[in-house]
Assembly symmetry: C2
């Protein structure tokens, strides 16, 4: 390991998406991330999608590159071991990341008795500590009522767990901010990160609350159109779809060139009295722009549309399925971020490393997710300094377990 965070150690007690993805993000930057689970597996150990044999592809995706220790969480001796692990000495240790309820033995007050400068990050559902998931958080943001076809009634949920993903990176950022603070002041601390507040802060940042209050409007549903400029999907002759956008003069000119739309665009400008170089005017003329582009896309197969748009340098992209993506040369197969890994129990498939490229260190290739308890013995020995006899006894007493 030679990642940018090499040497940093984070102990993680987690389930679902945000918390394990935070740990995975740090592990892929070279941190030693130790995930602990109950010897029976965590809440998310069998989550879908699974293979035909019931192996969780989901779990494998979110726990790549971590070390796993399996401990009986109900046994006081198991809890003692984990407390020792979380609070183990070292400048780069003493960082605990969790979305388990921070009560009892996992409360900051308890853990920090063993290490005063502990950093403990707790991802919670909302600021009151109530349960929330990406879906319940998203419901209240307003987004589901403006997502989906313009004539649709009712909400449209995101399939993409957007708030979990953002929270994962925010959690990783917060740990580094607190670690910096500790390095400068010697002081540890508890960090609380509510999933709901993450979503609400983003709604605020992107202007939706300001728009609602200041303009006293509820923005209507605009289907697949990008609000305030030009962008939407178009259907090709062979039933594929492309997304076409204009965010700048350059994109306008490139699109005009791709479809020989120069005269038609000039006519729109004249007839509607607009300047298509302005975002607001493109939005005003969106129906007219679409009327020009639609027949051009509809008269050609996707491959030909793609060739013209690519050649002209337009801002566009094809829509594709997950399966098409998985064999997409540029995005996946030839992308150095991806490596075909053999994930034990699941099989071989392309797996992403960190999307961040640091020039000072080579990007670490992705490493498989561990089997549950795969590193139990090496952690007990290497981090806690237990002898082979002591470790054997913990196994005999069923306080710890190796891989199933």
């Amino acid at each position: 390991m030679n990642g940018i965070l090499s040497g940093l150690r984070i102990v993680e007690g987690s389930a679902f998406i945000a918390a394990p993805m935070a740990g995975m993000t740090l592990a892929q930057l070279g941190a030693d991330v130790i995930r602990f689970d109950d010897i029976k597996g965590g809440l998310d150990s069998d989550r879908w999608p699974v293979t035909k044999d019931g192996q969780s592809i989901y779990w494998a995706g979110l726990n790549k590159g971590k070390r796993s220790i399996a401990v009986d969480l109900r046994n006081p001796k198991g809890r003692e071991l984990l407390t020792a692990l979380i609070t183990a000495p070292g400048d780069n240790a003493g960082i605990f990341s969790t979305n388990m309820p921070a009560r009892g033995w996992l409360a900051y007050e308890e853990l920090s008795k063993k290490r005063a400068d502990l950093i403990a990050l707790n991802i919670v559902g909302d600021r009151h500590g109530a349960a929330n998931v990406d879906y319940t958080v998203n419901s209240i943001t307003g987004f589901p009522l403006v997502t989906g076809p313009a004539d649709h009634q009712g909400p449209v949920n995101n399939v993409l767990p957007a708030w979990d993903i953002a929270t994962a990176y925010a959690a990783a950022m917060s740990i580094l901010a607190a670690e910096r603070h500790r390095r400068m002041t010697g002081q540890g601390q508890r960090i609380v990160l509510p999933l709901q507040d993450m979503a609400l802060a983003a709604v605020s940042a992107t202007g939706y609350i300001g728009e609602a209050v200041v303009n006293k409007v509820d923005r209507p549903r605009f289907g697949n159109q990008i609000f305030g400029t030009f962008g939407r999907d178009f259907r090709t002759k062979d039933g594929k779809y492309v997304m076409v956008c204009i965010f700048s003069d350059r994109h306008l000119d490139a699109l005009a060139k791709a479809g020989s739309f120069g005269d038609a665009f000039a006519r729109i400008e004249k007839d509607k009295g607009v300047d298509l170089k302005l975002e607001a005017d493109r939005w005003k003329a969106r129906a007219e722009l679409a009327a020009v582009i639609e027949p051009w896309v509809a008269s050609q197969n996707a491959a030909d549309v793609a060739a013209s748009l690519r050649k002209a340098g337009a801002l566009w992209a094809p829509y594709q399925s997950f399966r098409e993506l998985s064999v997409d040369n540029d995005a996946v197969l030839d992308n150095p971020m991806f490596t075909v890994l053999d994930q034990p129990g699941i099989g071989r498939y392309p797996v992403a490393a960190s999307p961040v490229q640091f020039a000072a260190v080579p990007r670490e290739a992705p490493r498989p997710a561990p089997l549950l308890g795969q590193h139990t013995d090496e952690i007990l020995s290497g981090v806690l300094g237990l002898s082979a006899a002591e470790i054997g006894k913990l196994h005999d007493e069923k306080i710890v377990a190796g891989p199933r």
Copy 2:
């Protein structure tokens, strides 16, 4: 300012969402974030939503708490000033974040001649450096083809700019990782973060590529249902919607209690031969579960459904519009993350601070976005040490500008 990143200085040359939101995120944690723009304003200075007077609510949302300097970017003397600002000395300075093309005077090679340990983060569209926006990146991920009503044909775009938001936090994280590395080694570096790779890494982490390759399936559209467990929307008597989920035994029991579904749930278990405590079995019995819940929700007004679900401790949430959110007591009005700010030129509305709560430092209240060039003089004087006469001359030569 007493935030966790107090003292850290980041110079930002940015537009749109990901890059300015990264800066805003760090500014809200106490960093001194200086955004520079051309004296005519950046590409995104007038982006929608706007007020009736054309003031950008969008820009205000993404630039909160920063300082603004306005410089003629075409003038070599303006570029010299900004180079000096980006590479200004200080342990906590010399950090540059941008999504402008890192060419010419903004190339890392040029900037690092003035400061060898410069940290420069460049957010790019894809790893080749091609233009991409949230929408084009999302198109290729696969998500638009599984989002939206189950019987819908064609893609459904996210309105929520999920990839921009995740990239913003990843960028903030990356800056802190590189700053830690510099603190330990003395070494600066260039960081490249492609928006497209951010999305692809998340598709990989959440198991979609693995599922496509290993199981050789394209997951179909399941509408508003949560894949692999139980969760979907239900319509109330008064035409509102609620999201109801079951992620654990506790949520199952609470839902049963809220609607007195105990017998009905037991009957489903018997008839279908399933155990509703298992995620996979809830997914198998999702139609039967919905058939029990649907008439119960449909027979009551939203307020009554909410009262029962809340009292029982179910995992649920109401759907609401942005306007309803903006006056939501719990989420916004009583939420200490929000402060009603007067944003100059726009008006008063609730604005979010950082969603992260660090125990060691009080959370900073949100600060308004600056007017373009609001801090030009104080930055030239305070950071670059220019005299009043020198600053006056720069104004006279129209190399810099104050607020319009």
